[in-house]
């Protein structure tokens, strides 16, 4: 059997004296959309940051396609094809849309496919094509989120990690965004999406993990998890997720 694209085995990670992730394990197979849900502070963002090398894993392993990537630098992990759309977008705001996108295609493997990826992105988000020479900071919130996703796509990722992709988006933008993610998965993109918009994430996902206090406490198919009583108790009453 081929190894999963991403295999996280018993990692422990945190900041200074604080341990956030404790013996956390999960896997993502190529072509899957996996949702990572859980209450605030459960460690969802920390897990994504650990995968990308921003937070070191103190124990356990992270493997990409069977190869260990824990302990590598963020740029080395990016070069192996892991992209993160961080919470709060974090664009280069004084730079133009086009420059932000070109920075996404900085790695040689991404640059070789730059034109192809740009066509895909402008197909998903035509507004970015029209606003190429606008400074990223002058875009609307929804457009900025589109650009953050587009910039990650420019790296030609094998695994796309999304941290709270629907945070603060208006409902029409959220729908547009969900559709775009749907189109990407139809093209075979592998996605690991964390966030608090539980219903929307779980509807998109093939499989999902519930993360509580740094541990995976529940896993299953996305829609299945959505019906789980325990998940309801753990999450639905607690989160600000009001979409139906």
């Amino acid at each position: 059997m081929t190894p999963p694209l991403l295999d996280v085995g018993g990692i422990e990670a945190g900041y200074n004296d604080l341990t956030i992730l404790k013996d956390c394990s999960l896997e993502v197979r190529a072509g899957e959309v996996v949702a990572l849900v859980g209450p605030n502070g459960a460690g969802k963002s920390t897990l994504l940051k650990t995968l990308c090398g921003l937070v070191p894993a103190r124990a356990g392993t992270v493997r990409l396609d069977g190869e260990r990537i824990d302990g590598l630098t963020p740029y080395a992990i990016a070069a192996r094809g892991v992209a993160l759309v961080p919470e709060g977008r974090r664009l280069f705001v004084p730079l133009t849309v086009r420059e932000n996108l070109e920075l996404g295609a900085f790695l040689p493997r991404a640059r070789a496919r730059q034109e192809e990826t740009l066509r895909l992105i402008f197909g998903l988000f035509p507004t970015l094509q029209q606003r190429q020479s606008v400074a990223a900071g002058d875009l609307s919130g929804g457009e900025q989120q589109m650009l953050a996703l587009a910039r990650a796509l420019m790296t030609y990722p094998r695994l796309l990690c999304l941290d709270d992709p629907f945070l603060g988006l208006a409902p029409p933008v959220t729908r547009r965004f969900s559709e775009a993610l749907g189109e990407l998965t139809a093209r075979g993109m592998t996605i690991l999406a964390a966030g608090q918009h539980v219903r929307r994430l779980l509807r998109l996902a093939d499989r999902a993990y519930l993360l509580e206090e740094g541990r995976v406490t529940l896993s299953g198919s996305g829609p299945g998890l959505l019906r789980d009583e325990r998940l309801r108790r753990a999450l639905l009453e607690l989160t600000p997720d009001v979409e139906r």
């Binding site: 921003l54 740029y75 961080p86 280069f92 004084p94 420059e99 920075l103 900085f106 991404a110």
Partner: protein, 317 residues
């Protein structure tokens, strides 16, 4: 501005720049303008580094390394051209070494490290008597040879120095213009804006920062080498002076960090205002323009004068 107007302005500007030596300026004034042009080179070099978000308080280190390197090589019989180039290489190497600190230090900590670095070199030059001549420095540095072209009147002495300073400034401006249009400029802008984010896109920050340090150090050191061949002496307090660290910073900040022409323009303007008008009449206050420039810019044009009439590139503010 229409294209024709732009070309006309450019030609008039070029004529004004090339004219002084031909129109019989007093050599002292040629020397002043040459020094102003060297400060323009320094401010532009400083700006290359600032464009990558790295603030240096220690460019005197590179000027001094270039100055001492060129002086020693010249005194040991190398032709001044080769000696200045060698000094440039020494300055670039010295800049890359302190650039390594930028892997760990940022902002004020890095600025202080560069300041200490320049002081370290000054102390070495001061105390390594056998090589550097200690506090007395080195004298008898050969003058720059007369350029083979166009005629000895305008290609030797102060006039030659003037044209060399001008050429050096033009070359660093050309390099910076090239950076602004290239992937290197994009990488440096990303590192300036948010290093961690740049890393997540696969941009390994340190090598790009070292390249910026190296380029900045190289041109600063060439200016240093040219300078010591103009004044024909080199002393620790002359080339490792805090002046060469602080003035480029003030000039670039006044002219507009990240703009192409702002720092060089501000360097010429401020230096000449200080030396031509204030030094002869109110010597005690001749440093005043630099202080006033910083205050004016902080209050009225936080991005520097250059941003008032220049379009942005890679988001340089």
């Amino acid at each position: 501005m229409p294209r024709g107007g732009l070309i006309a302005t450019g030609l008039v500007g070029l004529a004004l720049i090339l004219l002084p030596p031909l129109s019989g300026f007093h050599p002292y004034y040629l020397y002043l303008v040459s020094t102003g042009l060297l400060f323009g080179t320094l401010a532009t070099s400083w700006n290359i580094l600032a464009y990558a978000g790295q603030v240096s308080f220690g460019h005197a280190a590179f000027v001094g390394l270039g100055g001492y390197g060129a002086a020693l090589a010249s005194l040991h019989g190398l032709s001044p051209w080769a000696a200045i180039a060698l000094g440039g290489g020494l300055g670039a190497a010295g800049a890359v070494i302190i650039g390594l600190a930028s892997g760990r230090l940022q902002g004020a900590s890095l600025a202080l490290a560069t300041l200490a670095y320049a002081e370290m070199w000054r102390a070495i030059a001061q105390n390594w008597d056998e090589v550097t001549g200690g506090g007395a420095g080195l004298i008898g540095i050969p003058a720059l040879p007369t350029l083979p072209w166009p005629s000895p009147d305008v290609s030797g002495g102060r006039a030659g120095g003037y044209y060399l300073s001008l050429a050096l400034l033009a070359s660093v401006l050309a390099v910076f213009a090239g950076i602004l249009r290239s992937r290197l400029g994009l990488a440096l802008a990303a590192i300036r804006e948010e290093e961690e984010r740049a890393g997540l896109l696969g941009v390994h920050p340190l090598p790009w920062k070292l390249l910026a340090f190296g380029l900045s150090g190289f041109w600063s050191a060439l200016a240093g080498g040219l300078y010591v061949h103009t004044v024909r002496v080199v002393e620790p307090d002359l080339v490792f002076s805090l002046h060469f660290s602080i003035l480029p910073l003030v000039m670039a900040t006044f002219g507009g960090v990240g703009t192409l022409l702002g720092p060089a323009g501000a360097a010429l303007g401020l230096y000449l205002a200080s030396e031509l008008f204030l030094h002869p009449y109110v010597p005690a206050f001749h440093q005043l323009p630099y202080a006033l420039a910083l205050i004016v810019v902080a209050l009225y044009a936080p991005g520097g004068l250059g941003t008032l009439f220049r379009r942005r590139r890679h988001g340089a503010a």
